[in-house]
């Protein structure tokens, strides 16, 4: 700041003060405020991000919960979350939102769409991970925050999300009958689970891959997989999974048309299921054993198995299953042409399915009954039954259609959201481009600011140099001027008027001509004494006051001896002046005395009077030279044209000298010249005021 002040001071000395002052102040303000502004901007965006981020998470979580009951509201929430996520670039939120959408579609069995959403989720995830770990598009603060999030709590969550996404996408593809696509997902799940030592997902993936192999007819691979998995579960003693795998192995052999092998697996499954009271699996096993026996056209065994199942279900009170068993039994009797037995079983099935309200099963039973009555020859009842079957079939279809319609409605809502998301996606792409543009602009601006900084620095340095140079030049000029003045002063000072010298010598000549040896000698001695004093002191800028008075006394004496008839003189010195304490420039007073004699007293008809007085006042030594000669005005008038050609240089010289002395030595010295008698203009008074302080001897 001090530097700045000095700088401004220097500038103002150059007389550019106003414009440069304001300009500089502006520059300084700019320099100080720029970083503050940019910092403030960063802070505000930072705090906003946190709250938005959390609200998104909450929105998505609640959407999951309410989807079944209020799909519309749920989708609104997802939409809102995605909007914020895209706007603020929260890839994790965006990914999560896609996952939620995928799940919705999965639930609605819209597997096409669910795969798409899962793909999107995966894409956003992977790009965001790459972004945050390798480089940052945006400013440092934000990316630091992002990576911190990933590194700590979210790493586990991320793998979990990944696995879930692969699993769901794989299942979706499988249900869509796209085994190859499904396979790729499950392989990814498999590798990811293997590295994470996640056995559940690992074996799930393996099992799914085996299922796919079965589907595409690669039975051998499937068998190896299944056995491997079975091995694992056996070790784990996970009975449920063992049952499941036995069923799957049964399915595998059933698909290979090896009913015998299939039946053995199914039986193992059934027996295990019976032990663990897993009724569903027991029924599945029974059903499959029955179907495998059917493959072998072994209806007797089939009937036996069916009866076993019936007995089991009766015991367990599984009415629904029991109804199915009865109907199956009915069908088997139909096949063996024992219609009456078939009718009995089928009637039972109808009753049982009525109990459970299972229209589908009832419809099946009614259809078989119609067939059985026809075989019995009771065509009326058969027709009656067929009509009922048609009605039942209608209601089944209607119910089915209703379900489809409901799903479709949900699907439409989803589609709507999906479209909106698509638009948002496009917006995002645009946004990214805009952001890139903005960033580029920002960088350009930063560069510009940098350039401006540089410019300011250059300007400041340049100005500084300019000021310094001007100061040096100014100083040199001043020194040169001072030197010149000193030279001038030397040339002006202590010049005894040459007229005086010649006139003095002339006086000596006079004494010689009149043979007055003593007088000539005396005069010559005085003159020599004066000249010696003058010459001795001519080199000095200041001489002791006492010396100057000595010179004046000699001068007055010599001049008086020439003009004895013209004037008398008196030199008065105040005794309180301590003469030794002061020094003055040599020959400062003499010219005024010479003037008084030559231009004042010499013209006077009668004898005049010259008085030189040194007075002591508080501030000054006052030197008063007064004469009662003819006065300045009259003296000028008396000069003829021919005489005016000569210009008196004595007074002009002394005025110049006083001016220069004041400039160089900073002394206070004033001269006032006035008439002695103002009314007549006669006589002249010269007053010299020498400030005591400034004229003290150093």
């Amino acid at each position: 700041m001090i530097y700045k002040k000095k700088f401004l001071l220097l500038l103002s000395q150059m007389n550019h003060s106003i414009t440069y002052n304001t300009f500089l102040n502006l520059l300084f303000a700019l320099v100080i405020l720029l970083p503050v502004f940019s910092f403030a901007q960063k802070r505000s965006s930072y705090s906003k991000e946190v709250s938005d981020y959390d609200s998104c998470n909450i929105k998505l979580d609640s959407a999951k919960v309410i989807f079944d009951k209020n799909p519309e509201k749920a989708l609104d929430l997802v939409e809102a979350a995605i909007l914020i996520a895209i706007k603020n670039s929260y890839p994790e939120i965006e990914s999560k939102a896609y996952q939620v959408l995928g799940d919705f579609n999965f639930d609605l069995k819209e597997y096409d769409l669910s795969i798409k959403n899962y793909e999107n989720a995966l894409r956003v995830y992977s790009t965001s991970l790459v972004e945050s770990s390798s480089f940052s598009l945006d400013d440092n603060v934000r990316s630091e925050k992002k990576t911190a999030k990933y590194n700590k709590s979210n790493e586990k969550q991320i793998t979990l999300d990944y696995k879930n996404l692969y699993k769901k996408a794989g299942l979706s593809a499988l249900y869509l009958n796209k085994p190859e696509q499904s396979k790729t997902y499950f392989i990814k799940l498999l590798t990811l689970s293997a590295s994470g030592n996640d056995q559940a997902n690992y074996f799930f993936a393996k099992q799914s891959l085996a299922d796919i192999d079965v589907k595409i007819g690669q039975y051998e691979e499937a068998e190896t997989y299944y056995n491997e998995i079975l091995n694992h579960y056996t070790k784990q003693a996970d009975t449920n999974s063992i049952i499941n795998l036995n069923i799957k192995l049964g399915n595998l052999f059933k698909a290979q048309n090896q009913p015998q092998k299939a039946i053995s697996y199914y039986s193992t499954a059934r027996d295990l299921a019976l032990k663990t009271d897993d009724d569903e699996s027991v029924n599945i096993a029974f059903d499959n054993i029955s179907k495998s026996l059917n493959q072998q056209r072994d209806i007797t065994s089939q009937m036996k198995v069916n009866q076993e199942a019936m007995r089991f279900n009766e015991e367990r009170g599984n009415v629904k299953e029991l109804a199915k068993n009865s109907i199956d039994m009915g069908y088997l009797y139909l096949e063996t042409d024992s219609s009456s037995k078939a009718i009995e079983q089928l009637e039972r099935g109808v009753v049982l399915s009525d109990e459970t309200g299972d229209i589908e099963t009832k419809s099946k039973a009614v259809k078989a009954l119609s067939e059985a009555y026809e075989k019995e020859g009771e065509e009326d009842i058969a027709l009656e039954m067929y009509k009922e079957y048609i009605e039942l079939e209608d209601s089944v279809n209607k119910r089915y259609a209703e379900a489809v319609e409901m799903n479709k409605q949900k699907g439409r809502l989803l589609e709507n959201t999906q479209n909106k998301v698509l638009i948002l996606e496009k917006d995002k792409e645009l946004n990214i481009k805009t952001i890139e543009l903005l960033q580029r602009e920002k960088r350009l601006k930063e560069e510009q600011v940098k350039r401006q900084y540089l410019l300011i620095i250059f300007l400041t340095v340049g100005l500084g140099l300019l000021v310094i140079t001007s100061l040096i030049v100014y100083r040199n000029n001043r020194l040169r001027r001072k030197a010149n003045r000193l030279l001038m002063l030397k040339s002006l000072r202590s010049q005894m008027n040459p007229h005086f010298i010649f006139n003095a010598l002339n006086s000596v000549n006079n004494y010689i001509s009149s043979n007055n040896e003593r007088a000539a000698n005396k005069y010559l001695a005085d003159f020599s004494n004066l000249m010696r004093n003058v010459l001795e002191n001519s080199g000095e800028d200041f001489i002791p006051l006492i010396k100057e008075i000595e010179i004046l006394e000699l001068y007055l004496k010599l001049e008086h001896s020439r003009f004895k008839d013209k004037f008398e003189y008196l030199l008065k010195i105040d005794e309180s002046i301590r003469l030794e304490k002061f020094s003055i420039p040599p020959m400062l007073i003499q010219p005024y005395i010479e003037n008084a004699i030559w231009h004042g007293l010499r013209y006077k008809a009668e004898k005049g009077f010259l008085e030189i007085e040194f007075k002591n006042t508080d501030q000054n030594i006052e030197i008063v030279i007064s004469d009662n000669g003819i006065g300045r005005k009259r003296s000028m008038e008396l000069k003829t044209e021919n005489q005016k050609i000569i210009k008196s240089t004595g007074l002009k010289n002394i005025a110049n000298r006083i001016y220069i002395i004041r400039e160089i030595y900073h002394v206070k010295l004033d001269v006032i010249i006035s008439d002695l008698l103002p009314e007549t203009g006669e006589g002249t008074v010269v007053k010299l005021y020498l400030n005591k302080q400034t004229f003290q001897r150093s």
């Binding site: 008396l638 003829t640 005489q643």
Partner: protein, 252 residues
């Protein structure tokens, strides 16, 4: 010796009057001092009254100087020996008319020499000539009408300055070439005349040449160049003087 020369002193300072009076009495017996005047007024009256052959005249005096005194006369029929303590502005006028002057403090030899010179002119064609030319020059307001007195072997020659075409230096002599074809040799240096004639359109163009600008009819360029004058002669311009020469023409 016979007191044949009547003289008057005009001098304001008593000491100087005394000195001159004493020395004249002692060393110039042929001079008969008629009167001593202390001012121009007194001097005019004394001269009218005594009709002296010589007037010792101080140049600077209170109440009017030497020229003021001379200007009062219609015609001058006396020789003047100027007495002055200062070699200043008056010298040019005195030198132009070849007037005599002695400097204070008075050198006795100079005083004797001056008186002797004047005595020789008495009753010759050059009688009072110098004084007359001086008066004329004082009176003529026009520079072109002024005249110069040049001493010759047989006395003085008065020449109108405007008639001089050029002056040529040869050692300590100067040769003047006039418009009418005549030439005069003077035993003074060219520098002496350069100073005297500087105010009358004369220009030094060469170490040996002083020319009257009014007679130049042509300037030939060259290293220094040369000028052709109206009499058909040429004078070279040396490089040293070239600039001053050209400058003086710019002012025209």
């Amino acid at each position: 010796m016979k007191k044949e020369l009547k003289a008057i002193i005009v001098e304001d300072e008593e000491a100087s009057r005394e000195t001159l009076k004493n020395y004249l009495a002692k060393y110039c017996p042929e001079v008969q001092l008629m009167d001593i005047a202390a001012s121009v007024d007194e001097g005019f009256v004394a001269i009218k009254k005594h009709q002296p052959q010589i007037v010792f005249l101080d140049i600077e005096m209170p109440f009017g100087n030497a020229f003021d005194l001379l200007a009062r006369f219609e015609d001058i029929d006396f020789e003047i020996i100027f007495v002055t303590a200062y070699k200043d502005y008056a010298m040019k006028a005195l030198n132009l008319s070849a007037a005599y002057y002695i400097l204070k403090p008075i050198d006795i030899d100079e005083l004797i020499f001056a008186v002797n010179k004047i005595r020789k002119h008495i009753n010759t064609k050059d009688e009072f000539l110098s004084s007359k030319v001086l008066l004329q020059n004082i009176r003529s307001a026009n520079q072109a009408d002024k005249k110069i007195v040049i001493p010759q072997m047989d006395g003085f020659e008065v020449i109108a300055i405007k008639d001089i075409i050029k002056g040529e230096a040869s050692d300590n002599y100067t040769t003047f070439y006039l418009e009418n074809g005549s030439r005069y040799i003077v035993s003074k240096t060219l520098k002496h005349f350069e100073e005297l004639l500087g105010d009358f359109d004369f220009l030094r163009v060469h170490k040996s040449w002083l020319i009257n600008k009014n007679f130049i009819i042509k300037y030939k360029k060259g290293k220094g160049g040369e000028v052709i004058l109206s009499d058909g002669t040429t004078a070279p311009i040396s490089p040293t003087y070239k600039r001053a020469f050209l400058e003086s023409f710019k002012q025209l």
